[in-house]
C-alpha cells in the first residue's frame, strides 16, 4: 500500500518535472487547432531548417552544465568569434585571395578555432574567479564582450587596423565594418554540399533505427538479459510505420514531399557532435567533468585539477558554439554584424531547458528535443497571435516572454529545490545533534 502511494507520488513528480515540455507540445498543438491556415508541410519545412541551424549551438551548452558551470550564456562570445572569423576571411577573400565558397568555409572553421579557444580560456578563468555566480557572470561577460567586439569592428577597424575604405565591407568613410555584410559564396556553402529530399531521409533513418532496435533486442535476448518488451514493440511499430508512410508518400507524391531538402553535411555535423558529446563522457576527461560538476571539494581531494577541468569545459563549449554560429550563418544570405549574436545565448539556453534539462543535468536528447519544441513554439506563436487576437505582434511579444519566463522559471525551481533539500539535511543533522 505504502509502496503504491510512493509510486504514484513519483509519477506526479515526474509530470511536474516535465511540465515545460508538456506546455510546449500543448501550445504547438493548440496552434494547429486555432490556425487552420498553417499547412503541415510549411510547418515541417520551417521547423527542419531551424533545427539544422540551431541544434549545434544548443548542443554546445551540454558540457559546461555537466561540469557544474550551469547554463553558459557566454556562448555569445563564441558566436562573436565566429563572426570575426567570417569578417576576416571575407575581407581577405574579396581583397586578395578570391577563394571559392567551400574554401572560405574551411578557412572560417580553422580561423574560428584559435580565436574562440583563446576567448574561452579567458572566460573560463573569469568563471573560476566568480565561482558560485557563473551564470550571472556569463550573462554579463557576454554584454562586456559585445562592447569589445563593437570597439574592434566599429572603431579599431580603420583607425588602428588599416583597411581599404572603398572595400565593399567597410563603411564609406573608411572607419568601421558595415552593419550588414554579404556572405557571398559562403551562403549555403555547407548546406549545398549534398541535399537529399526530406522523405527519403525519413525513410533511410527510420529503416536504420528499425534495424538497430531489432539487432539490440536480439543481442540482449541472447545474453539472457531481462529486457523491456513493450518499449521494443512500440519502437518497432513506430519505425516501421514511419518507413511505410514515407514509401507511401514518395510513391503517391503527396504534399509532404514539398518539405525542404535535407542538407546532409549540416546534419552530419550535428550528428557527429552528438556522438562526440556522448563519447567524451566515457573518457577520463568526461569523468572529471562529472565529478567536478557533482562536488568540487571531493573532486579536488581525488586529485582532479578542478580549475583546469572547468576551463577545458568552457573552452570546448565556446569553440563548439562558435562553429555552431558558422553553421547558422552560412544558412543566411547576409551577416548582421552587430545583431546576429545578441540573442543566441538566451534562445539556446531556453531551448535546452524546454527539452527538460536543468542547471545540473543535460543530455544530447534533451538538447535535440528542446531545439524542436522551442522552434515549434517560435513558428506557431505569431500565427496563434494572429488567429486568436488578430495581432501577430502579440504572438511575438508572447514568445519573448516565453524565452525569459522559461529561463527564469527553470532556474528558480532548481535553486528552490536545492535550497529545500539542503535545509532538510541540515534539519536532520540538527535533530541528530539534539538526540545526542
Amino acid at each position: 500500500m505504502k509502496k503504491d502511494k510512493k509510486k504514484l507520488g513519483n509519477q506526479v513528480f515526474s509530470l511536474a518535472d516535465n511540465i515545460v515540455p508538456i506546455i510546449f507540445i500543448a501550445f504547438t498543438l493548440l496552434g494547429f487547432v486555432l490556425t487552420k491556415s498553417v499547412p503541415f508541410n510549411f510547418f515541417l519545412s520551417e521547423l527542419s531548417s531551424r533545427f539544422y541551424r540551431n541544434a549545434f549551438i544548443v548542443l554546445s551548452l551540454i558540457i559546461p552544465v555537466i561540469a557544474g558551470l550551469g547554463l553558459n550564456f557566454g556562448i555569445v562570445i563564441g558566436a562573436m568569434s565566429a563572426q570575426l572569423a567570417i569578417i576576416i576571411v571575407r575581407y581577405l577573400s574579396i581583397e586578395y585571395l578570391h577563394l571559392s565558397g567551400t574554401m572560405e568555409l574551411i578557412f572560417c572553421f580553422l580561423l574560428t578555432l584559435p580565436i574562440a579557444a583563446f576567448i574561452g580560456l579567458l572566460t573560463g578563468k573569469l568563471y573560476n574567479k566568480t565561482r558560485g555566480q557563473e551564470m550571472i557572470a556569463s550573462l554579463i561577460v557576454g554584454f562586456f564582450a559585445n562592447g569589445v567586439y563593437q570597439f574592434i569592428l566599429l572603431f579599431a577597424t580603420g583607425v588602428i587596423i588599416p583597411v581599404r575604405s572603398s572595400h565593399p565591407m567597410i563603411k564609406p568613410d573608411g572607419v568601421g565594418v558595415r552593419m550588414t555584410v554579404d556572405m557571398g559564396d559562403l551562403h549555403y556553402s555547407l548546406a549545398n554540399i549534398l541535399k537529399i529530399p526530406f522523405m527519403w531521409v525519413v525513410l533511410i533513418v527510420s529503416l536504420l533505427l528499425l534495424a538497430l532496435t531489432i539487432v539490440l533486442f536480439l543481442k540482449e535476448k541472447k545474453l539472457g538479459k531481462k529486457n523491456n518488451q513493450i518499449t521494443f514493440y512500440i519502437k518497432t511499430i513506430i519505425f516501421a510505420a514511419l518507413s511505410i508512410f514515407s514509401i507511401f508518400s514518395i510513391i503517391t507524391k503527396s504534399k509532404i514531399n514539398l518539405v525542404k531538402d535535407v542538407p546532409i553535411a549540416t546534419v552530419l555535423f550535428i550528428a557527429s557532435l552528438c556522438v562526440f558529446t556522448e563519447l567524451i563522457m566515457k573518457t577520463k576527461l568526461g569523468q572529471d567533468f562529472r565529478s567536478v560538476g557533482q562536488d568540487q571539494h571531493i573532486a579536488e581531494s581525488n586529485g582532479i585539477n578542478v580549475d583546469k577541468t572547468r576551463i577545458i569545459a568552457v573552452v570546448m563549449s565556446t569553440v563548439l558554439a562558435a562553429w555552431g554560429q558558422l553553421i547558422y550563418l552560412q544558412d543566411m544570405g547576409t551577416l548582421n554584424v552587430y545583431g546576429a549574436h545578441t540573442q543566441i545565448g538566451m534562445f539556446s539556453v531556453a531551448a535546452l531547458l524546454v527539452g527538460g534539462a536543468s542547471v545540473r543535468k543535460a543530455t544530447v536528447s534533451q538538447a535535440l528535443i528542446g531545439t524542436l519544441l522551442f522552434n515549434s513554439m517560435f513558428i506557431m506563436s505569431p500565427e496563434i497571435g494572429k488567429a486568436a487576437f488578430g495581432n501577430a505582434l502579440l504572438g511575438e511579444y508572447f514568445r519573448t516572454f516565453m524565452v525569459y519566463g522559461i529561463i527564469g522559471m527553470a532556474l528558480g525551481i532548481y535553486v528552490w529545490n536545492a535550497n529545500r533539500k539542503s535545509r532538510i539535511t541540515l534539519d536532520s543533522i540538527d535533530m541528530q545533534v539534539q538526540d545526542d
Binding site: T130, Q150, H297, L394
Partner: protein, 361 residues
C-alpha cells in the same frame, strides 16, 4: 643607512597609495581619473563647459534615485537589485493610468507617485518572497525576474484598454513605444522648480532637491532600529539570526523599499527626459544603475549613500562628457556608447569576482 631610508620612503609611498586604494577603491579612482581627463580634453577642444556641466548635473539628478534603489537591496544581503525593471514597471504603469485618468501637471506626478508606491509595495513583497526562496542565486534569478516581467508587460501595453489620445497610436490598438509628457504638462516639472544659473551652468534645483531628500530619507531609515537590523542581517546572517532578527522578513522589507525607489526613480527620470518608454525600454535599465553604485565604491555586499552620490556623479558625468568629446575627436563613431557598454559591464564583472562563497572555498 641611505638604503634604509629609500626603502622606508618606498614603503610610505606604497602605503599612501594602498590606503588611497583601500579607502576610495580602485575602480572609483580609475573612473575619476578618466572623468578628469575627459573634462580636460573637452576644455582643450574649446567645448562649452557650462553646457557640459548643466548636462552632467541633469543626468546626475535623473539617474540618482534608480542608483539609490540598489542600497537597501545590497545592505539586506540580496546583492544589487538586478530586478530593478520590476520597480520601473510599477512607475510606468502608474504613469499610464494617471494619464488615462486625465490628470495633468504636478497633480499628475503626485498621483502617479502615490500609485507607483502602492504597486511597488505589492510587487516588492512578492519579489522579496521569491528571493527568500532562492537564496544563493539571487542575482541570476533577479535578472530573469526583471526580464520576464518586462516581456510580460509588453503584452499588457499592447492589450490594455487605454483610450487616451496621448498614449495610443493614431490607428490600431495598444500604447505607443514612446509617450511624451509635454502633452500632459508634466515634463521637467522638478527640473524647472527654483532652477537658476551660475556661471552659465543651469542648476536643476528641484530635481537635485528630490534626489538628496530621498538620499537623506534612506540614510535616516538605516539609522532606525529596523534599518540597523536589516544591515546586520545582510552583513552577518548567522550572528543576526542568533540575536533573534527575522532575516527573511527584513530582506522582504528591504526589497520593497528598493522596488519603491525604482518606481519613483523612473518617474523622476522620465519627467526630466520629457518622455517615457514602454515595451523593451526598461529591459536593460538595471545594469547602468548597478554599475553606478559599484563605481561609487560599493560591493555586492556593502553599499552606502555616499557610494550612490559619488558613483552616479562619476559614471553619468563621464558618459555625458565623453559623448561630445568622442564625437569631435572621432567623427561618425559611437565611441561613447561603446565605452559605456565596456565600463558598465566591466565594473559589474569586477564586483562579481569579489563576491565570496560558492562551491570551492
Amino acid at each position: 643607512m641611505t638604503e634604509h631610508n629609500v626603502v622606508k620612503e618606498k614603503d610610505l609611498k606604497n602605503s599612501f597609495l594602498a590606503t588611497a586604494i583601500k579607502t576610495i577603491g580602485l575602480p572609483t579612482l580609475i573612473i575619476a581619473a578618466f572623468f578628469l581627463v575627459v573634462i580636460l580634453t573637452a576644455a582643450f577642444l574649446k567645448q562649452s563647459l557650462p553646457i557640459l556641466f548643466s548636462d552632467i548635473l541633469r543626468r546626475f539628478g535623473m539617474n540618482g534615485l534608480l542608483v539609490l534603489a540598489m542600497v537597501p537591496a545590497i545592505k539586506s544581503g540580496t546583492g544589487p537589485n538586478f530586478a530593478l525593471p520590476l520597480g520601473i514597471i510599477c512607475g510606468l504603469l502608474a504613469w499610464t493610468i494617471g494619464i488615462e485618468m486625465g490628470f495633468i501637471g504636478l497633480k499628475l506626478i503626485l498621483l502617479v507617485s502615490l500609485m507607483a508606491i502602492v504597486f511597488a509595495i505589492i510587487l516588492g513583497y512578492l519579489y522579496g518572497k521569491l528571493l527568500n526562496a532562492v537564496k544563493g542565486a539571487e542575482m541570476t534569478i533577479a535578472t530573469y525576474t526583471g526580464f520576464s516581467t518586462v516581456a510580460l508587460m509588453a503584452l499588457v501595453w499592447l492589450m490594455a484598454p487605454f483610450k487616451s489620445k496621448q498614449m495610443g497610436w493614431m490607428m490600431g490598438e495598444g500604447l505607443r513605444e514612446t509617450i511624451k509628457l509635454d502633452g500632459v504638462e508634466a515634463a521637467q516639472i522638478f527640473n524647472n522648480f527654483l532652477s537658476f544659473k551660475v556661471f552659465g551652468i543651469n542648476i536643476p534645483t528641484g530635481l537635485l532637491l528630490v534626489f538628496f531628500a530621498f538620499c537623506f530619507l534612506v540614510w535616516l531609515f538605516f539609522r532606525t532600529k529596523i534599518g540597523i537590523a536589516i544591515t546586520a542581517g545582510g552583513s552577518n546572517p548567522e550572528f543576526a539570526a542568533a540575536s533573534g532578527i527575522d532575516i527573511d522578513k527584513n530582506r522582504i522589507i528591504a526589497n520593497i523599499l528598493s522596488t519603491i525607489l525604482g518606481a519613483l526613480g523612473i518617474i523622476l527620470y522620465s519627467q526630466s527626459y520629457g518622455f517615457f518608454q514602454l515595451y523593451s525600454g526598461p529591459l536593460m535599465m538595471a545594469f547602468p544603475a548597478v554599475a553606478g553604485v559599484l563605481i561609487g565604491g560599493a560591493t555586492a555586499s556593502k553599499a552606502n549613500i555616499s557610494h550612490v552620490i559619488i558613483g552616479t556623479f562619476l559614471f553619468q558625468g563621464l558618459l555625458t562628457a565623453s559623448m561630445p568629446v568622442a564625437n569631435q575627436l572621432f567623427e561618425g563613431t559611437d565611441l561613447s556608447e561603446i565605452m559605456r557598454v565596456i565600463l558598465q559591464n566591466g565594473i559589474i564583472l569586477y564586483a562579481l569576482t569579489q563576491v565570496k562563497g560558492g562551491g570551492k572555498e
